[in-house]
C-alpha cells in the first residue's frame, strides 16, 4: 500500500490523482509525508481540500477531531488545528469544541479574472517544474487530461 505515495498536496492543487481517491467501499484517507518540503499543515490543508472538492464528503459528514488526527499522524495538535481553521475560514468546515469538524454545504464561488490568470500561471509553472525535474512531457499531458476528465464528471463546487 505504501508504493502509492501522496504527500497530501495534489500536483494540481485542486484534485487528488485518480489512484489516490478512496475506493467506493473504502473510507477516504489522507496521506502526508513528514520528509516533504511542504509544511505538514499545508499538506493536511491541501489534502483535505482536494477530497472536499472531489465530493468525497457530503454536508453534515464528520471529520476526525483535531486530537484524533494529530494522534494518528503523530504531529502536533496545533498543526492539525491550523489546517482545520483555514478550511473553516474557506467555508468548508464548521468547528465546534469537543465535537470535531463538520463538513458544510458550501456555496459555489465565483473567481475573478485575476484568480483565473493566477491559476493558469501556477499550472504552467508546475508543469514546467515537473518537466525540468525529468517528468516525461507525455506523462504531464496525460495527467492533465485525466484531471480534466475528472473535473468534467463532477458538479460545480468551487
Amino acid at each position: 500500500m505504501w508504493t502509492r505515495t501522496w504527500c497530501g498536496t495534489s500536483p494540481t492543487g485542486c484534485l487528488p490523482p485518480a489512484e489516490l481517491m478512496a475506493e467506493p467501499s473504502e473510507k477516504p484517507v489522507l496521506r502526508i509525508d513528514l520528509c516533504s518540503s511542504t509544511p505538514v499543515y499545508r499538506q493536511i490543508l491541501d489534502g483535505l481540500r482536494a477530497l472536499l472538492v472531489s465530493d468525497m464528503f457530503h454536508p453534515g459528514d464528520k471529520l476526525p477531531t483535531v486530537r484524533e488526527m494529530a494522534i494518528d499522524l503523530g504531529v502536533n495538535h496545533n498543526t492539525v488545528a491550523e489546517a482545520y481553521r483555514l478550511l473553516a475560514d474557506e467555508g468548508w468546515l464548521d468547528l465546534k469544541r469537543h465535537h470535531g469538524a463538520t463538513v458544510l454545504s458550501r456555496e459555489p464561488q465565483r473567481a475573478g479574472p485575476e484568480r483565473r490568470q493566477d491559476f493558469a500561471q501556477r499550472l504552467q509553472e508546475l508543469a514546467a517544474s515537473a518537466i525540468a525535474d525529468g517528468v516525461d512531457k507525455a506523462a504531464v499531458v496525460h495527467q492533465l487530461n485525466t484531471l480534466a476528465d475528472q473535473l468534467k464528471t463532477q458538479k460545480e463546487c468551487l
Binding site: W2, K27, P28, V29, R31, I71
Partner: protein, 371 residues
C-alpha cells in the same frame, strides 16, 4: 526423622505465574509487528534472515536456561514457613531478570540492522466511535453487580456478625478476620468499583486515544479488530472483578462463616481462562492486529521501507519505555507483547499513572482501616 510436608496448593500457585512468564517470554519475538524485532525497526525480511534467526535462537536458549534455573527456589517449600515466600516469589523474580537480560542482549544485537521507517503517514477521515463495544448496558453491568452487592449488604446490615472474614486461603477457607465496620464490609465491593472504573477508563483510552497506524486496507481492519478484542477482554476483566468482589463481599452473610467458600475453586480456572484469552488474542491477531489484517493481504513487500509503529526507535528507552515529547499520543502500541504503553513525556500520561497510584493507595488505606 520428620517427613517434609509440602504445601501443594502454594506450589501450584507459584508454578502458574512461572509457566505463564515462560510462555510469554518465548512468544515475544512473534508477538510484535513484522517490521519490529526486539523493539527495533527492521526490514520485514530481517526476521527470517540468517542474523535474525541466530538472534532469535540465542534469545530462546537464554530464556529456556533461565526458566529452568528459576525452579531452584522451589526447594524453599521444604524449608520452614519463613522461606516459603521466597519459594513463591523467587521463580518469577529470577525468570523476569533472566528474560530482561536476554531481551536486552537480543535488542543490542539487532540495533546494527535498524532500518529507517517510512516518513509517510496516513489517517482515515472518519471520527472514532463514540461508544464502547457492547454498548452502554454491557459496560454498566459490572457496576450494577457491585451496586446490587452493596445494597444487599446495607439491607442485611443487622444480620452481619461482629467478626467477618476478610481473607481466604487457597482452599477457600477464611484465614483472616476483622471486626464489623464500614471499611471491612464495603471495602471489597468498593475496591471492585475502583478497579472496574480504571479498566473502563483504559477501554475508553484504547478506543479514542490510541494511534491507528494504518488508514486503509486490511491492515486497518486488523487494527480495528485488535482494539475491539482488547476492549472486550477488558470488559470481561471488569465482569470477573465485579463477580469476585461480589462473591467475597457477600461472604459475611453466609450462615457458616468458617466453612470454605464453595465457589472458590472457580478462581484459578477463571484466571487461567483470562490469561489464556490474552495469549490467544496476541497469538491469533499479533500485536496491533497485524496478523488479523495485513498478513493475509501481504500488502507490504519485504523491500518496502518499514512502517513500524509510527514511533521513533530513539524514543524507546531500552525498548520498553516510550518517552517522546513531540508525540501527542498518550497510549502507544507496545513494541512487543500485547496492548499499549504510556508515552511518559505526555503530561496526560501522568494523570493515568496518578489514577493507578490513587487506586493502590485506596487499597492500602482500606487494608489499614480494616486492621
Amino acid at each position: 526423622m520428620n517427613s517434609i510436608r509440602l504445601d501443594w496448593p502454594l506450589i501450584i500457585a507459584a508454578l502458574f505465574p512461572w509457566a505463564s512468564i515462560a510462555v510469554g517470554a518465548l512468544m515475544i519475538p512473534r508477538l510484535t509487528r513484522p517490521d519490529l524485532f526486539f523493539a527495533v525497526t527492521v526490514k520485514r525480511s530481517f526476521r527470517d534472515s540468517p542474523p535474525g534467526v541466530e538472534i532469535r535462537r540465542q534469545y530462546t536458549a537464554y530464556v529456556l536456561g533461565t526458566t529452568l534455573v528459576a525452579l531452584l527456589p522451589l526447594i524453599c517449600f521444604a524449608l520452614p514457613r519463613f522461606w516459603v515466600l521466597l519459594g513463591v516469589l523467587g521463580p518469577c523474580a529470577i525468570e523476569l531478570a533472566g528474560w530482561l537480560a536476554a531481551f536486552l542482549l537480543a535488542r543490542h544485537r539487532t540495533l546494527p540492522y535498524h532500518a529507517e521507517p517510512t516518513a509517510e503517514r496516513e489517517v482515515q477521515l472518519t471520527p472514532r466511535p463514540a461508544s464502547l463495544p457492547g454498548g452502554g448496558l454491557a459496560q454498566a453491568g459490572p457496576f450494577a453487580i457491585l451496586v446490587v452487592t452493596c445494597l444487599a449488604l446495607v439491607v442485611k446490615w443487622p444480620a452481619i456478625p461482629s467478626r467477618i472474614p476478610i481473607h481466604w486461603g487457597l482452599g477457600g477457607a477464611p484465614d483472616g478476620w476483622a471486626a464489623k465496620s464500614l471499611a471491612a464490609v464495603f471495602g471489597g465491593p468498593g475496591i471492585g468499583f475502583l478497579a472496574c472504573a480504571l479498566l473502563a477508563g483504559v477501554s475508553c483510552l484504547a478506543m479514542r486515544g490510541v494511534r491507528r497506524i494504518h488508514g486503509s486496507g486490511r491492515a486497518r481492519q486488523g487494527e480495528a479488530r485488535f482494539v475491539r478484542a482488547i476492549v472486550f477482554f477488558l470488559l470481561g476483566m471488569e465482569y470477573w472483578v465485579a463477580l469476585l468482589m461480589a462473591l467475597l463481599g457477600l461472604a459475611p452473610l453466609r450462615p457458616n462463616l468458617q466453612a470454605p467458600l464453595p465457589q472458590f475453586w472457580l478462581i484459578l480456572p477463571c484466571e487461567t481462562l483470562l490469561i489464556g484469552t490474552i495469549f490467544f488474542i496476541s497469538f491469533r491477531m499479533g500485536q496491533g492486529g497485524w496478523r488479523a489484517g495485513a498478513a493475509a493481504g501481504n500488502e507490504v513487500s519485504n523491500d518496502d521501507a518499514p512502517v513500524g509503529d509510527r514511533t521513533p526507535d530513539a524514543c524507546w528507552k531500552l525498548g520498553l519505555i516510550y518517552y517522546n515529547p513531540n508525540d501527542p499520543a498518550v497510549l502507544v502500541e507496545k513494541r512487543f507483547g500485547v496492548g499499549w504503553t504510556l508515552n511518559f513525556a505526555n503530561p496526560r500520561s501522568w494523570l493515568v499513572i496518578g489514577a493507578i497510584f490513587l487506586f493502590m493507595l485506596a487499597v492500602l488505606a482500606l487494608a489499614l482501616a480494616v486492621k
